[in-house]
């Protein structure tokens, strides 16, 4: 098995070297075959320059740069990255250090254990949790999650998180089906529709205005009415 990590970045000059270092450490410690695909959307802060240095340090078979001209959205970033992925499993995560690569070996173990199509990191179960959220943020997050569980009954506890492992062909199929930031939520909902199996691994998330809340509600209601 080979695992391709897709890292969409925009102005992550500070974080990118650190996340790559942590990824390499985690993968090499557990002897996993991997590649890291960096999809930079034309960041003005020089993320691309840092990425090129990383490519030199770790080798271009491990670090693949697949930049795009401008910011084009997450879904298309995944499509773009996947075109160049040689692994049979895809891991998607944020490059801002909120998702720690130490969980990836657990994702892989979980996937093998149940032969799952998708393994999703969850902040809401077991030892999962968050760091750096104030009370308001916690209440909104828990409230939104509760509402989602009631309305969509998706069969996974963390729909808005974006730390997941997919079989490559499953992710391809899902992206093709998804239309909606809600994007992460729709992926799981469509997965349930297509009878894909989902495993969950608790993760710690180390870190939201009116706008985000309203667009979340809009997306939730759309999914509620259409799926």
């Amino acid at each position: 098995n080979k695992y391709s990590v897709l890292l969409p970045t925009y102005n992550e000059r500070e974080n990118l070297p650190l996340i790559v270092w942590l990824l390499v450490k985690s993968f090499s410690e557990s002897g996993i075959n991997y590649e890291i695909i960096i999809i930079d959307d034309g960041s003005p802060d020089g993320t691309r320059d840092v990425a090129e240095q990383l490519e030199k340090i770790y080798g271009s078979d491990r670090i693949l740069l697949r930049p795009r001209e401008k910011k084009l959205g997450l879904g298309t970033a995944y499509i773009h990255g996947m075109k160049h992925a040689t692994g049979n499993y895809i891991i998607i995560m944020d490059a801002d250090l909120s998702h720690h690569p130490k969980f990836i070996p657990e994702f892989i173990r979980k996937q093998k254990e149940g032969n799952f199509d998708i393994v999703s990191g969850t902040r809401y179960k077991g030892n999962g949790g968050v760091y750096g959220w104030d009370l308001k943020r916690k209440i909104i997050s828990r409230g939104a999650n509760f509402l989602t569980q009631i309305l969509l009954r998706p069969g996974a506890s963390d729909l808005t998180g974006s730390f997941r492992l997919y079989r490559k062909e499953v992710l391809e199929k899902l992206i093709e089906k998804c239309v909606s930031g809600v994007f992460q939520m729709e992926m799981i909902v469509r997965a349930r529709q297509l009878n894909y199996t989902i495993g969950e691994v608790p993760i710690s998330f180390v870190d939201l205005g009116g706008n985000e809340i309203v667009s979340f509600l809009k997306g939730l209601l759309t999914l509620f009415a259409t799926t």
């Binding site: 070297p17 250090l97 968050v130």
Partner: protein, 81 residues
């Protein structure tokens, strides 16, 4: 769709209620929709409250990350980044 499932459920409950309403049992019966609503509200409030109270603050994870960041910086600088 989920919406249709909800509408079906509500329609079944609603029509049962209408059929029944149209002495002490009757007294209980007529405010029953309000009772269901209040119960659902309480359940929602209680669940969210409980989950906020038991939401893990991952202090250890944050500390671990900070120390690894220092380590990563040093190592990457050594490799010429």
């Amino acid at each position: 769709t989920k919406l249709a499932q909800w509408l079906w459920g509500l329609a079944i409950l609603g029509s049962t209620w209408v059929a029944l309403t149209t002495l002490s049992c009757q007294e209980v019966l007529w405010p029953l929709p309000a009772y269901l609503l209040v119960s659902a509200g309480c359940y929602a409030l209680g669940t969210v409250g409980y989950r906020v109270a038991t939401f893990h603050d991952c202090e250890d994870a944050a500390r671990e990350l900070q120390s690894q960041i220092q380590e990563a910086r040093a190592d990457l600088a050594r490799r010429g980044l």
